[in-house]
C-alpha cells in the first residue's frame, strides 16, 4: 500500500494491558471528567470549583448521619448491580431492573401494610417481606427470559416495557394504601409501631442493609466465579453456539439466571421499602435500575469492583446535591456531573482495549 493511502491514525487491538496501567487510564479519565465538571460548575454558578469539590466532600462525609445516608444509598445501588451481574455476564440486557425493584417493593409494602398490625412478630414479618419481594422480582425477571429462551424475543426492549407495567401497577396500588386519604401518596407505613422496619444492627440504623448487601455481593462473586452455574453463564455470554456445542442447555441457563437476577433486584425493592423509605411510590427505584446497569458494565460483572464504582457514583450524587443546596442550585446538577464522568469512563475503555498508531510515527511491525 502506498504511503499516501495510509490513514492518519491506525487502530489495533491490544493483547492485554497491565492491570496497573488500565487503572491508570481509568483514573486519568476520571480526573479529566472532574476538570470538565469543574468547568461546567464554574460556567453555571461562577463558583470556585475547588471550594465546590471541598463542600461536596463535606456534604457527604461531614457528619455521621450524612455518611450513613451515603452508605445506605451505596448499598442499594450495589445490591441492584449485584442482581444485574448474572444477567449481564450472560449478555442478557436486563434493562428492567427498575420494574423488578418496584415489583419487589410493592410486594414488601403489601406485606408491611396487611400484616403490620402486630399479628406476626417483626422478625417474621421481615422474613415474609423479603421472601415476597424475592418472588415478585423473580417473576418480573422470569417473564422476559421465558420469551427470550423460547422465541428469542428481544430482551432489551421487553424488559424496558416491563418497567412501565410495574410503574402503572405501583400507581394502581397507591390509592388503596394512601395515607392520609386524598394525598395520593402512601406516606410512612407503620410509623407508630415500626412494624416491617429494619431494626438497628450494631447500633446502626442501616447496619442490616450493609450486612445483607455485603453477604449478597460476596456470594454472587463466588457464584459467578467458582460455581458450575457461573461457568455456564460465562460460556453462554461468550457464545451461545459454543455453549450449545458443549452440551449446556442454553434455555435453562437463560431462564435460571434471569430469575436470580430479577429476584435480587426485587430484594433491592425490599431494602428500599423496609430499610430506607418505609414507603412506596413510583420513585422507589428512582432511576437506580438504570445507573446500576452502568455500574455492572463498568465493573465487568465483578461484584467486588462494583463496591468501588457504586461508592463513587453515590458520592457524586450526594455531593452534587449537597453543593446544590448550599449554593441554591437545583439537585439535577448531580445528573449532569454524573453523566459527564460516565461518558469519560466509558470512553476510556477504548484506550485500554486498543492501541493508536499515528502514520507519522515510524512504522516498524506495521505489517502485523
Amino acid at each position: 500500500m502506498s504511503i499516501k493511502n495510509e490513514p492518519l491514525i491506525r487502530i489495533s487491538k491490544r493483547d492485554g494491558m497491565a492491570t496497573w496501567k488500565s487503572w491508570a487510564v481509568r483514573i486519568i479519565a476520571l480526573l479529566l471528567s472532574l476538570i470538565i465538571d469543574a468547568i461546567i460548575i464554574y460556567a453555571i454558578a461562577g463558583l470556585n470549583p475547588l471550594s465546590v469539590y471541598k463542600s461536596m466532600f463535606d456534604g457527604v462525609f461531614g457528619t455521621n448521619r450524612r455518611m450513613w445516608a451515603w452508605i445506605r444509598d451505596m448499598m442499594m445501588l450495589l445490591c441492584i448491580g449485584v442482581g444485574l451481574a448474572p444477567a449481564f455476564k450472560m449478555r442478557f440486557w436486563n434493562i428492567g431492573a427498575e420494574g423488578q425493584i418496584l415489583a419487589g417493593g410493592i410486594a414488601a409494602a403489601a406485606c408491611m401494610i396487611y400484616l403490620g398490625s402486630g399479628a406476626v412478630p417483626n422478625w417474621l414479618l421481615l422474613i415474609i417481606m423479603a421472601a415476597a419481594s424475592l418472588v415478585a422480582g423473580a417473576v418480573w425477571g422470569m417473564i422476559p427470559s421465558i420469551f427470550k429462551a423460547k422465541w428469542n424475543t428481544n430482551e432489551t426492549l421487553f424488559t424496558l416495557m416491563m418497567n412501565y407495567i410495574a410503574i402503572q401497577f405501583t400507581s394502581f396500588f397507591i390509592p388503596f394504601w394512601e395515607h392520609p386519604a386524598g394525598s395520593n401518596t402512601v406516606g410512612t407505613i407503620n410509623s407508630a409501631n415500626k412494624m416491617g422496619w429494619f431494626p438497628s444492627l450494631f447500633g446502626q440504623m442501616y447496619g442490616l442493609n450493609v450486612l445483607i448487601v455485603v453477604v449478597l455481593t460476596v456470594a454472587m462473586f463466588i457464584y459467578l466465579k467458582y460455581s458450575k452455574h457461573g461457568y455456564e453463564i460465562g460460556v453462554v455470554g461468550e457464545s451461545e453456539n459454543t455453549a450449545r456445542y458443549a452440551g449446556i442447555n442454553v434455555k435453562t441457563v437463560v431462564v435460571r439466571s434471569m430469575t436470580i437476577s430479577g429476584a435480587i433486584c426485587g430484594l433491592a425493592g425490599f431494602l428500599a421499602v423496609a430499610g430506607a423509605d418505609h414507603s412506596i411510590s413510583v420513585n422507589t427505584s428512582g432511576g437506580r435500575g438504570f445507573i446500576a446497569i452502568i455500574v455492572a458494565w463498568m465493573a465487568k460483572f465483578n461484584t467486588l469492583v462494583m463496591i468501588l464504582i457504586s461508592a463513587l457514583i453515590v458520592f457524586l450524587e450526594k455531593g452534587a446535591i449537597a453543593i446544590a443546596s448550599q449554593f441554591q442550585l437545583s439537585n439535577d446538577v448531580s445528573d449532569i456531573l454524573t453523566g459527564v464522568i460516565l461518558f469519560f469512563i466509558l470512553g476510556s475503555e477504548f484506550f485500554i482495549n486498543y492501541k493508536l498508531k499515528f502514520s507519522f510515527e515510524h512504522r516498524e511491525g506495521s505489517k502485523k
Binding site: 434493562i95 424496558l160 416495557m161 407495567i165 394502581f172 438504570f290 446497569i293 466509558l346
Partner: protein
C-alpha cells in the same frame, strides 16, 4: 361526538411528540445503532429550544413570535444533534457499548433539562414560571382558511405546524430509506456492516450521519412537547422521559418503518388517553388503562419474534459494534 373529537385531537397531539422521537430512532437504528438516549435527546431538544426562545423574549426589546420560533427550532436541532454526536463518538469511534452509553446520555440529558428548567428563571433574574408565550403562540398558530369546515377542521386542520411536519418527515424518511441509494446503503450498514464495508460504503460515515440526524429529529419531539403540548412552559415532572421511552416502544411497534410510526403514534396517543373517556374509572383502575401502549408493544414484540417475517425484523446488526479488524 365531542368526546370523540377530544380523544382524536389529544391522540394526535400526544402522538406527534412520540412520532418525532420514534422516527429519529428508526433512522438511527437502521444504521445498527441502538440509541437508548432518546429520552435524553428529547430533553435536550426541549430545554434548549426553550432556553433559546426564553433568552430572546427576555432580551429583545420587541420580540416577535416567528423569530422566537426559528431560534427555538435551531437551538433544539443543534442541541439534540450534538447529543447524538457525543453518543456517536463514544460508541462508533471509541467503540463503547451502545446501551450503556445511551442510558448515560439519558441521565445527562435529563440532568441538563431539569437543572436549567428549575434554575433558568433565577439565573436570568426573573421570578415565577418560565414562559415563552409569544414563541409558543407561533408554534400553536393554526391556519384560518379551513375555519368554516366545522368538525373536519377540528379533526384535521387545527394543529400547530409541527404536527404536520411530523407526518411529512415520516413520509420523507420512508421514501429516503426505501427508494434512494442512500437509504439502501444505510440499510446495508445496519444489516451487515462488514458486507457494506466490502462493497465500498463508508460505514463510519453512515453511522455518524444516521445517528446525528436521527437525534436531531428525535429532539424535535421534545420541542413540540414544550412549545405546543404544554404551551411553552416547563415542568420538572419527568414526562419527557416517559414519552421518550414510549417513543422507543413505538419504534418496535412500527417494526422499524417510518410510515408506520404515523398511525402507530396516534394509536399510542389514543390508548394512553383512553381512560379519560371511559366512564366509571377511579384513580386506581385508570392506571391499568395507561398500561395499554406498553402491553400492545409487548404483544407486537412477541409476535414479531414468533412470526419471523423477514421484513418485520429489527436490523440484523442492531446494537452490535462494528470493528473492521474483528471477524
Amino acid at each position: 361526538m365531542t368526546q370523540f373529537i377530544s380523544l382524536f385531537t389529544t391522540a394526535v397531539r400526544f402522538g406527534s411528540v412520540i412520532m418525532f422521537g420514534a422516527m429519529g430512532e428508526v433512522l438511527t437504528e437502521k444504521s445498527g445503532q441502538l440509541n437508548l438516549g432518546v429520552p435524553g435527546i428529547m430533553y435536550l431538544g426541549g430545554i434548549c429550544g426553550l432556553i433559546g426562545s426564553f433568552l430572546y423574549e427576555l432580551h429583545s426589546p420587541a420580540p416577535s413570535g416567528t423569530v422566537g420560533m426559528i431560534i427555538a427550532l435551531v437551538c433544539a436541532l443543534a442541541a439534540s444533534a450534538l447529543g447524538g454526536l457525543v453518543y456517536s463518538f463514544i460508541t462508533i469511534s471509541l467503540r463503547a457499548n451502545q446501551n450503556v452509553t445511551g442510558l448515560t446520555l439519558t441521565i445527562f440529558g435529563s440532568g441538563i433539562a431539569n437543572f436549567f428548567g428549575a434554575s433558568l428563571n433565577k439565573m436570568a433574574g426573573g421570578v415565577g414560571q418560565i414562559s415563552v408565550a409569544l414563541t409558543s403562540r407561533a408554534f400553536r398558530w393554526t391556519q384560518p382558511l379551513t375555519d368554516g369546515l366545522g368538525v373536519v377542521d377540528k379533526l384535521l386542520f387545527n394543529y400547530g405546524f409541527m404536527a404536520y411536519l411530523a407526518v411529512a418527515l415520516a413520509i420523507l424518511l420512508s421514501w429516503v430509506l426505501n427508494r434512494t441509494s442512500v437509504g439502501l446503503n444505510l440499510r446495508a450498514v445496519g444489516e451487515n456492516p462488514a458486507t457494506a464495508d466490502a462493497a465500498g460504503i463508508n460505514v463510519t460515515k453512515y453511522k455518524y450521519m444516521a445517528t446525528c440526524i436521527g437525534a436531531a429529529i428525535s429532539g424535535l419531539g421534545g420541542l413540540y412537547y414544550v412549545m405546543d403540548y404544554i404551551n411553552g412552559t416547563w415542568a420538572n415532572d419527568g414526562n419527557i422521559e416517559a414519552l421518550g421511552w414510549l417513543a422507543v416502544a413505538l419504534v418496535i411497534f412500527a417494526t422499524w418503518k417510518p410510515a408506520r410510526t404515523i398511525w402507530g403514534a396516534y394509536l399510542f396517543g389514543a390508548l394512553y388517553w383512553l381512560y379519560n373517556f371511559i366512564p366509571g374509572l377511579n384513580r386506581s383502575s385508570q392506571e391499568i388503562f395507561k398500561m395499554l401502549p406498553y402491553i400492545v408493544t409487548m404483544i407486537v414484540l412477541i409476535s414479531v419474534s414468533l412470526r419471523h417475517k423477514r421484513e418485520d425484523q429489527p436490523p440484523m446488526s442492531l446494537g452490535l459494534p462494528y470493528f473492521r479488524e474483528e471477524r
